[in-house]
């Protein structure tokens, strides 16, 4: 049997997936062994995969003339590209490449799953023929991508946090910096250089005692830094989700007559919005910053996946937003 030659977008998709799979494996290796070459190889591969993904979406648009994000295949493709892009931006800024393997592995899984929804090219149904499609979909998908990154950082926080507790060998609840509680603050005194006091004293002590696990744990950013990073990623996702819901409502008003119809997809997005609004409010409380908000960030991943895929694929046939035809 003779196979038709692959089109440029298919070639780019294969390149992206391969870069992600290999890049994720190398970066996961880097997570555990921290050899510089692993980062130097893994990070460019991941960035190359991400570029190939955007090129793939553009190529598809050029080849078909149809906005490529109107089905689950295109939307998941952008989702995984955005997850990698947002993560890479944070990785460059905060030197986070050691965590990249997990984000990229998740992105690759979502991308591979998205490929199973590739039905070829379908022109959009009337309700999707709107410039809002070009605005609303990328914004919502990018917000979901931010929540994915936040959940991976949340998991890292919990690894370090429970690592500290295990190392300390006692069930002591670490509290984030509070005026009343244990302090993670630093104090600059005369002649002392500025330093940030460690928030994992047990791990530090174990490092001094030569524990390799503790040495590994201490190579993760401090709990305070991880908490701030999670907050910052959610602070990307929540406003984007808000804009996504607003643009969606605007579009719905044009297409269906009402800006809000209590359609499952709308209400699911609202659930996710309420969830992250809860995160933001709890994060203003001293007692809730730290492990509790990290748990929320982690729980955000299954919730986001349900909102994104569960509603489309499982309950989608009752939704105006269903990708099923």
């Amino acid at each position: 049997m003779q196979h038709a030659p692959m089109s440029i977008d298919q070639v780019l998709m294969v390149i992206a997936l391969s870069c992600y799979v290999v890049g994720a494996l190398i970066l996961i290796l880097y997570f555990f062994s921290r050899e510089e070459w692993q980062k130097n190889l893994g990070a460019p591969l991941v960035v190359a995969g991400c570029v190939a993904q955007f090129a793939q979406l553009i190529a598809r648009f050029e080849l078909t003339g149809i906005w490529p994000l109107l089905n689950l295949y295109g939307s998941l493709s952008l989702f995984s590209a955005m997850s990698v892009a947002i993560f890479s931006a944070f990785a460059f800024r905060y030197r986070l490449w050691f965590a990249g393997g997990f984000v990229v592995a998740l992105a690759a899984i979502f991308l591979a799953y998205g490929n199973t929804w590739n039905e070829g090219t379908l022109p959009p149904v009337p309700s999707l023929q709107s410039y809002w499609a070009k605005i609303h979909v990328p914004i919502v998908v990018t917000s979901y991508a931010a929540f994915l990154v936040a959940s991976v950082l949340g998991a890292l926080y919990l690894i370090k946090y429970y690592g500290e507790r295990l190392t300390a060998g006692r069930a002591q609840t670490l509290r984030a910096a509070t005026p009343e509680g244990t302090s993670v603050a630093f104090t600059v005194r005369e002649d002392a250089s500025v330093r940030v006091k460690s928030d994992t004293p047990a791990i530090d002590a174990a490092v001094q005692a030569g524990s390799p696990t503790a040495a590994w744990l201490s190579s993760l950013p401090s709990l305070a830094q991880l908490d701030v990073m999670i907050y910052r990623v959610v602070a990307v996702g929540l406003p984007l989700l808000t804009i996504g819901i607003i643009t969606g409502a605007w579009w719905a008003k044009e297409a269906w007559g009402a800006y809000w119809q209590w359609d499952p997809k709308e209400t699911a997005a609202l659930t996710l919005w309420i969830f992250y609004a809860m995160y933001m409010h709890l994060h203003t409380r001293n007692a809730w910053r730290g492990p509790r908000s990290a748990w929320l960030a982690v729980i955000g991943l299954p919730l986001m996946t349900f909102v994104y895929l569960g509603v489309n694929v499982v309950i989608g046939n009752h939704s105006l937003h269903s990708y099923k035809t």
Binding site: V228, Y231, A235, A249, W250, Y259, L270, I274
Partner: protein, 442 residues
């Protein structure tokens, strides 16, 4: 204030209480995602075990978003938001300038500087002013304090977000109080004045375009366009020709008309003992409507239009384009269904008791949705206010520095403490950099 009022204020101004309300709101919202909404009761009994289905119906979870629970929780959230804003957010976010115990604040630093107190104080103030901090001085009990604020105005971001939420709620309430919505089917050539509106619409024609496309899982008949050509007359009495298509509604006196659906009205010839029953034969039925036969318990329902009957199987084809059209008819005797038939146009069906029916001619109708919602501008403004507040709160970190200069061994001791609206962790790095720079400048 009575004890009850105090308890009320204490509870409703507690953020954890507010967040618990959010959690209930999220769970109720999710319930409406998982449980199919607004279905017939039998659907729930079919889909869930009987006790669960009964619970869903009794608790109103089949229409959760309009249930007392849902409206109640949003009411409580608004109440909590209002109480919290006045009792907690404003005092916490807009604190007056007051002295603190510098070394009791987790983010603090102190260092020695040469020079007399007044000149050190001046240098410190100049340093902050150079770095864009708003400097203010106060004296408390004879002690001079310098306060430096960054992004002080942004402390109001939370208030802006909260006000946005309230505006959205107000906009939605306006729709409940004064808006209306509905759907109407207009047959080609017909004129309708939808109830509550001042507009009359005449449908000249309705067109739809469907394109068969080969996909990996077979042929998909993709709808491409639905278009109604109408003449609309509003309050001014002047007829306007207009086109309504999906995503392109028309506005008549503030009411918007949307292309929503389409269908096929049918004219049937009903005969009794070979003689046409004039009254029934003159009617046009929309899908789902029926005819009761005179002096008989029998009735016939026009269930569905079938655009194409497959030649080989004689069954409805997936092709929605009109080729060999037919209709699906349900026949009843009283409440008892007697049967269902797929009948090509022009063919006769014997209904018993001397009656027979022939589907004669179809007419396209356009399903038009209409809506008057005077709350939309307010909801739109609220959404943008909320978004603005969210961005101000999330991207700017208002911080206040408390600076005290006191005589020290090398001249003066400068003590600096920092507080932000988001705790201390977020400001550790900038604070350490600031202090380093201050020390270098000395």
């Amino acid at each position: 204030m009575t004890a009850v009022a105090r308890d009320f204020v204490r509870t409703f101004s507690n953020v954890l209480f507010a967040v618990s309300l959010f959690a209930i709101w999220a769970v109720l919202t999710l319930l409406g995602v998982v449980i199919d909404q607004n279905q017939d009761p039998q659907e729930y009994f079919g889909a869930y075990p009987v006790p669960l289905a009964r619970a869903i119906l009794r608790l109103g979870f089949d229409n959760v978003y309009h249930s007392p629970w849902y409206i109640g929780i949003i009411g409580l959230i608004l109440l909590s938001l209002t109480v919290c804003t006045f009792k907690r957010v404003i005092p916490a976010r807009l604190p007056p300038l007051r002295p603190v115990k510098v070394d009791k604040i987790p983010l603090n630093a102190s260092f020695e500087v040469a020079g007399v107190e007044s000149s050190v104080r001046q240098r410190v103030e100049a340093f902050f002013a150079r770095h864009g901090w708003q400097v203010r001085k106060r004296t408390f009990d004879g002690t001079e304090w310098t306060f430096a604020d960054r992004h002080n105005w942004a402390r109001r971001g939370v208030l802006v977000a909260h006000v946005g939420f309230v505006i959205i709620a107000a906009g939605t309430t306006i729709y409940w109080a004064r808006g209306f919505a509905g759907e109407t089917a207009i047959l080609t050539g017909q004129t309708v004045t939808p109830s509550q509106t001042s507009a009359s619409l005449t449908l000249h024609d309705f067109n739809y375009r469907i394109q068969p496309i080969a996909t990996k899982s077979g042929i998909v008949y993709q709808p491409i366009d639905y278009v109604s050509h109408v003449t609309a007359i509003g309050r001014d009495g002047i007829p306007h020709r207009a086109t309504i298509r999906v995503n392109h509604p028309i506005d008549v006196d503030g009411t918007f008309f949307y292309q929503a659906s389409y269908g096929f009205a049918m004219r049937f010839t009903v005969t009794h003992d070979g003689v046409p029953v004039a009254d029934l034969s003159s009617r046009q039925l929309e899908e789902g409507q029926g005819l009761s036969l005179p002096q008989s318990a029998r009735s016939v329902q026009y269930a569905q239009f079938v655009p194409t009957i497959d030649k080989l199987t004689g069954m409805p084809s997936a092709d929605p384009r009109i080729n060999r059209p037919g209709v699906v008819l349900n026949v009843f005797d009283g409440d008892q269904p007697l049967g269902t038939t797929l009948l090509p146009l022009g063919q006769r069906l014997d209904l018993g008791q001397g009656f027979s029916i022939v589907p004669r001619q179809y007419t396209l109708y356009s399903g038009i949705q209409y809506r008057y919602d005077p709350g939309v501008p307010l909801v739109g403004i609220g959404a943008f206010v909320l978004l603005a507040g969210l961005c101000i709160s999330l991207y700017l970190l208002p911080a206040r520095l408390f600076v005290q200069v006191s005589p020290g061994p090398a001249g003066c001791t400068v003590g600096v403490a920092a507080m932000t609206v988001k705790g201390y962790e977020m400001f550790e790095q900038p604070f350490s950099e600031l202090i380093e720079e201050m020390k270098k400048g000395e």
